[in-house]
């Protein structure tokens, strides 16, 4: 996960990198709020992102990132 840490403490996810050949840049961050993930479990900051035209959720929980599809 490539993330930009801004001076005021804000985080911005920039790109998801699974490996060298699977990189997905985040086109836009539409929303960020604390939320619980129902499908997979977990509670953290939920970033609503547009990646390759599709909207999906990126979660940051206790310093780790995970992805879940937007239902």
């Amino acid at each position: 996960m490539i993330v930009r840490f801004e001076a005021e403490g804000k985080l911005r996810p920039l790109m998801i990198e699974f490996d060298e050949s699977h990189k997905y840049p985040v086109d836009r961050v539409l929303d960020v709020r604390r939320a619980a993930c129902e499908s997979v479990g977990g509670v953290g900051d939920r970033y609503t992102c547009r990646i390759q035209g599709q909207e999906c959720y990126l979660w940051l929980e206790k310093g780790r990132w995970f992805v879940a599809a937007k239902e």
Binding site: R33, R34, A35, A36, C37, E38, S39, V40, G41, G42, V43, K62
Partner: protein
């Protein structure tokens, strides 16, 4: 002006957190239980699939499995529950700064002043309920009333996931039929005393003459009467941090006078062990050691010394106390009473600078030994394990400073 008080109670808190974290558990009967290795594993919480099968808090794991063979048993993950509790409080803090937590899963909120900004109490309760579900993935029961006691009755009234308003218009209808033990501060002993006086419901308690209750229960009777009538005036106490214990001490008037240094050394060791065991229970170490000495003429003094590093090793505390004693007592008379106190308590889990110095390594070794001795004493009784020195004196050696020691607690109605 009437207050607006909310009592928020997370439903089956530990179990709910585990179910949120692991979706596979959500449709199975689940109980979060203490350690099974002790053979003292008991149920801490059960979810709403296990409860109807008879699984109750406080039950032993084997009993719970009898009632529900397919029960899933999980160990507690306190760090996670603390995280959820903190996140819930962050939600409350968006509506008021008067928050009184009551354990990890409950809190009182005074939203009297918030009404103009955030809506009335019911609207705030609904928002909080919705946010807990959305942000944390768990549910809560909320009681809405004009005082803490009634608000808590409200949250207990309907579980899970409900908001119950209790005000003057429906107070008698909802509260009067409830059993008297539902009232805060009514435990089994008070319940029994009231039952013998013919009082079984909160309504009966509310309508009972105050003189009767004063006669049967003393001052508490008057307080409970006030509670039962929904007239509690205690404020929601904003506790930023729980008041921490600042010192632990133990002193004793010995069964016979102490007449020489060896006697004193033995007693200091005994008392230091007890004090250090208590410090370990508080997960603390002390930075200052105090010794208290009173002679047969009842003249007394206290001397203290700061330690180089925080410690809860009984050997170190006893040695320090003994050294203070030797430096300050001149044996004009025999010693009647003696005491040891560890003060300037700090959290034991603070990072301790690991050291190459012999002293520190030895301290750590002694602390480990002390902790092991604690475990043995826990299981087999305080007197099961003793230092050899203590056996040398039949009279002094029989003192059990821990179990026979009364620690006077801070009053319930503090502040």
């Amino acid at each position: 002006m009437a207050r607006s008080i909310l009592h928020v109670d997370q439903n089956c808190f530990y179990a709910s957190v585990e179910m949120q974290r692991n979706p596979e558990l959500r449709n199975r009967p689940l109980a979060v239980c203490g350690s099974q290795e002790d053979r003292h594993g008991i149920v801490l919480t059960a979810n709403y699939l296990a409860k109807p099968r008879g699984v109750k808090t406080g039950m032993a794991i084997w009993q719970a499995r009898q009632k529900c063979p397919e029960l899933v048993v999980l160990p507690p993950d306190m760090a996670e529950y603390i995280r959820f509790s903190r996140m819930a409080r962050e939600i409350y803090a968006d509506y008021t700064d008067q928050i009184e937590p009551f354990g990890l899963d409950e809190a009182w909120l005074d939203v009297t002043g918030s009404a103009s900004l955030y809506g009335n109490a019911m609207e705030i309760a609904q928002e909080i309920s919705h946010r807990i579900k959305f942000e944390l993935g768990i549910t809560a029961s909320i009681g809405v009333a004009d005082n803490k006691i009634t608000a808590k009755l409200g949250s207990d009234y309907k579980k899970p996931d409900a908001i119950t308003r209790i005000e003057k218009d429906n107070y008698k209808e909802i509260v009067y039929p409830l059993p008297v033990e539902d009232l805060l501060y009514v435990g089994p002993a008070t319940k029994e005393k009231l039952r013998r006086g013919g009082i079984k419901t909160i309504g009966e308690l509310a309508e009972a003459p105050v003189e009767f209750l004063l006669h049967r229960l003393g001052k508490m009777g008057v307080v409970l009467h006030t509670f039962a009538n929904g007239q509690d005036v205690s404020p929601v106490q904003n506790t930023e941090h729980i008041p921490t214990v600042k010192s632990a001490g133990n002193s004793a008037t010995t069964p016979r006078d102490l007449v020489n240094n060896e006697d004193v050394r033995l007693m200091l060791l005994l008392l230091a062990e007890s004090v250090c065991a208590r410090m370990r229970e508080l997960a603390s170490r002390c930075t200052v050691v105090e010794v208290y000495v009173r002679d047969t003429e009842l003249r007394a003094f206290i001397r203290q010394r700061k330690l180089a590093t925080p410690s809860c090793s009984s050997t170190e505390i006893a040695d320090t106390a003994y050294s203070l004693f030797l430096a300050n007592y001149h044996w004009e008379k025999s010693v009647r009473s003696i005491g040891v106190r560890g003060s300037g308590l700090v959290e034991a889990y603070e990072c301790v600078q690991l050291s190459l110095y012999q002293d520190d390594q030895r301290r750590q070794k002694w602390e480990r030994i002390d902790a092991t001795v604690d475990d043995v004493r826990h299981r087999y009784g305080y007197m099961s394990l003793q230092r050899a020195l203590i056996y040398t004196d039949p009279l002094l050696g029989r003192i059990n400073p821990k179990d026979d020691h009364t620690v006077h607690p801070v009053g319930f109605f503090a502040g």
